[in-house]
């Protein structure tokens, strides 16, 4: 059992898989010699060499195209897109190519690509370097979507993503990079599509993801002090979506809250709330409540950004106000 930062867990998880599969390669901007602009790939060039860990030009379409083409022809690839906002410059390859090629060809293509990308706010980087864009990918049929909240899950879900034969978009949260967590010794491999109940409770269910998980837990802690027992679920992967864990929890607590970092409209919270509102309607004792960033671009100033992204205070306050 070692304590690892979320940042270090990224390289640790990749290294675990690169040792296992000598075919696995990685490419991206400034990932090799520099160890990545977030220092999430430090040490990989040294261990695996320049053939397997390669720097690229600023050509995101070329990066993901190369990843996809190599994957289709037998080489599994990890591709880094430095900030998740930049998925927009290569969205055609993400949404129209990788995601669809298998279906379109009647199953002829297999595309084992993991697109790793730094996601989310809290770094005061402004509207073009802070977005939470899990929903950009969740809404595209043919993509799997993963977003770990802690160091151990980074390793386990990285392994699962790399071993998955389908394209996976793997969101590393910028504001979690410095957080530390225990990572057990030995190989860690999770399964995609398994949420975790990170805190048990009976009065309401809070479903969260990535940076929102520690915030939901802190809010639940505070609620506990006030006699409210909140169950907190870390979704971990959006596709596949572990609806059973959510539905089972709501069957017990009878109330659903989702806590999302993406802007208001059409986020995963809307999807989860809608599923619950359909399949667990008769379990519900009150409204389906989503807590999200407002539907605005993220502002740069510290004060403004902190108001925008759901905080422990806002989660706590929303629940106390709406739970009876």
């Amino acid at each position: 059992m070692a304590e690892l930062s979320y940042r270090d867990a990224v390289a640790y998880g990749i290294a675990q898989e690169m040792r296992r599969d000598p075919n696995l390669v990685m490419l991206g901007e400034d990932i090799a010699a520099a160890g990545g602009v977030f220092k999430t790939t430090v040490g990989l060039l040294d261990e695996f060499g320049p053939r397997r860990i390669r720097d690229t030009p600023i050509s995101e379409q070329a990066i993901l195209g190369a990843a996809m083409g190599a994957a289709m022809t037998g080489i599994p690839v990890i591709a880094e897109i430095m900030f998740s906002d930049f998925l927009a410059v290569c969205f055609d390859i993400v949404a129209n190519e990788m995601a669809k090629s298998r279906y379109m060809t009647g199953g002829q293509m297999t595309v084992p690509v993991v697109v790793r990308t730094a996601n989310g706010g809290g770094s005061r980087f402004g509207a073009q370097h802070s977005q939470s864009v899990e929903n950009w990918c969740m809404m595209i049929p043919g993509l799997k979507v993963v977003a770990p909240s802690n160091s151990r899950d980074v390793v386990g879900l990285m392994a699962a993503s790399i071993r998955d034969p389908d394209p996976v978009v793997f969101f590393e949260h910028k504001s979690l990079l410095a957080t530390k967590g225990e990572v057990p010794e030995g190989e860690i491999v999770d399964e995609l599509g398994k949420a975790t109940v990170v805190r048990e409770g009976t009065d309401c269910t809070i479903v969260a993801l990535a940076l929102m998980v520690p915030r939901a837990l802190a809010a639940a802690e505070r609620l506990a002090g006030e006699g409210i027992s909140a169950e907190v679920i870390d979704l971990r992967t959006l596709v596949p979506l572990d609806t059973q864990t959510v539905l089972a929890s709501v069957a017990k607590t009878n109330r659903l809250y989702t806590v999302e970092e993406n802007p208001r409209l059409c986020g995963w919270g809307a999807e989860v709330a809608s599923i619950v509102g359909d399949e667990a309607f008769w379990d519900l004792d009150g409204p389906l409540v989503r807590i999200t960033t407002p539907h605005i671009p993220l502002p740069a100033a510290e004060a403004l950004e902190d108001m925008a992204i759901p905080s422990v205070d806002r989660i706590h306050e929303t629940i106390t106000k709406t739970l009876d």
Binding site: A66, G69, T73, M104, G107, M109, I275
Partner: protein, 357 residues
């Protein structure tokens, strides 16, 4: 250029000067290509032509739904490259990919069945005309959104480089495609990694309905940009299968030896409209006719006669192909329509499409 575009009368593209083909290069008779290879190229061009003519007839009978983009008149490019590739090489095409798919050896029946949306189609009916693929023949797909597949072809080249297999990836695209960003990214990337990729621009002078010269800053949309990627400009007569074959052998060999990518511009012309919906009215009078005279199959036929091949041999090939096209048509028409069971399969590698538990 811009000034010209602002002349109202020139916005009616059919009133512009026609762009006429260069004369046939009879000197290409002397290219060092064995006669039996030439006979294969004749056969292949016949296949592509007759297959697509049949496909056209089937649209007219409303048996093919959706849209379809034929390469009638452009067969020499698919032929020259198709014949120069090794069976384990990779091809990537656009929505205009029937010829490139067949040229790699994909069977006509399942390809035809795909156009008809049948479950014996080569993609089970899921992809249709614009997405033909046959991985077992090295045909790695047809891509219907301009640009992406140039980048994807790089990946196949990279993979070959990593695996040390000396496979080559060839990617076909149109003149209009040279103006999209992915073209630029792909070429630069291929060159800096010295990938075994051959980029083939089939310059048929038009994007959909707009003449390429009106929207391109250089005369030769691909060749005039080669140096921007540290590459040699290569222009070839895209209506002469021998010329294409000769160039193809060279650039494929270069890639196979690990000496990096090439960019080839093959000048050609489509006889019909851009797609099923297009009567091609934007083309100035005389232009289509001039290119019909330069039909790659007619001129190839003439070359073979000049080289002493008896007319009867050629007729037999054409007849044999016709019979095979008939068989393919029957195969396709006999295919069942896909059913509910097919809808939700093959999104994931496990064969299914479940996104939840």
């Amino acid at each position: 250029m811009s000034t010209e575009a602002f002349e109202p009368e020139l916005m009616d593209y059919s009133r512009r000067q026609p762009r006429l083909p260069e004369p046939v290069i009879e000197g290409n008779d002397a290219l060092d290509i064995p006669l039996d290879e030439r006979m294969e190229m004749y056969r292949l061009q016949q296949e592509l032509r007759q297959f697509e003519k049949r496909a056209y007839d089937l649209f007219m009978q409303n048996l093919v739904k959706g849209t379809s983009h034929l390469s009638l008149g452009m067969e020499a490019v698919a032929t020259g490259f198709g014949r120069a590739l090794r069976p384990d090489d990779y091809s990537f095409a656009t929505y205009r990919g029937h010829a490139h798919t067949l040229a790699r050896g994909a069977p006509m029946g399942p390809v035809m069945a795909e156009l008809l949306g049948r479950s014996n189609g080569i993609l089970g009916g899921k992809g249709g005309s614009m997405h033909l693929a046959s991985v077992e023949h090295g045909m790695m797909g047809s891509y219907a959104i301009i640009g992406a597949h140039l980048c994807i072809a790089n990946g196949a080249g990279w993979s070959a480089q990593l695996r040390g297999t000396e496979q080559v990836a060839v990617v076909f695209f149109g003149d209009g495609t040279t103006n999209i960003g992915a073209f630029h990214e792909a070429l630069n990337f291929a060159k800096i990694w010295e990938l075994p990729v051959v980029f083939v621009c089939e310059n048929n002078l038009y994007m959909e309905y707009t003449p390429i010269d009106l929207v391109t800053a250089v005369e030769h949309p691909a060749a005039d940009r080669a140096t921007a990627y540290g590459l040699e400009p290569i222009l070839v007569d895209g209506n002469d299968a021998d010329a294409v074959y000769d160039v193809a052998q060279g650039v494929i060999e270069t890639a196979r030896r690990g000496e990096g990518p090439s960019l080839v511009e093959a000048v050609t012309y489509r006889h019909g409209g851009h797609s099923r919906a297009d009567p091609g009215k934007y083309r100035p009078p005389g232009e289509v006719e001039a290119w019909l005279d330069r039909d790659p199959i007619i001129t190839y036929h003439q070359r073979l006669l000049r080289l002493g091949v008896p007319e009867g041999d050629l007729t037999r090939i054409a007849q044999d192909v016709a019979r095979r096209v008939d068989e393919a048509t029957e195969f396709a028409k006999a295919g069942p329509v896909p059913d509910e069971g097919d809808l939700m399969t093959d999104m994931w590698a496990d064969g299914g499409s479940a996104w939840r538990n």
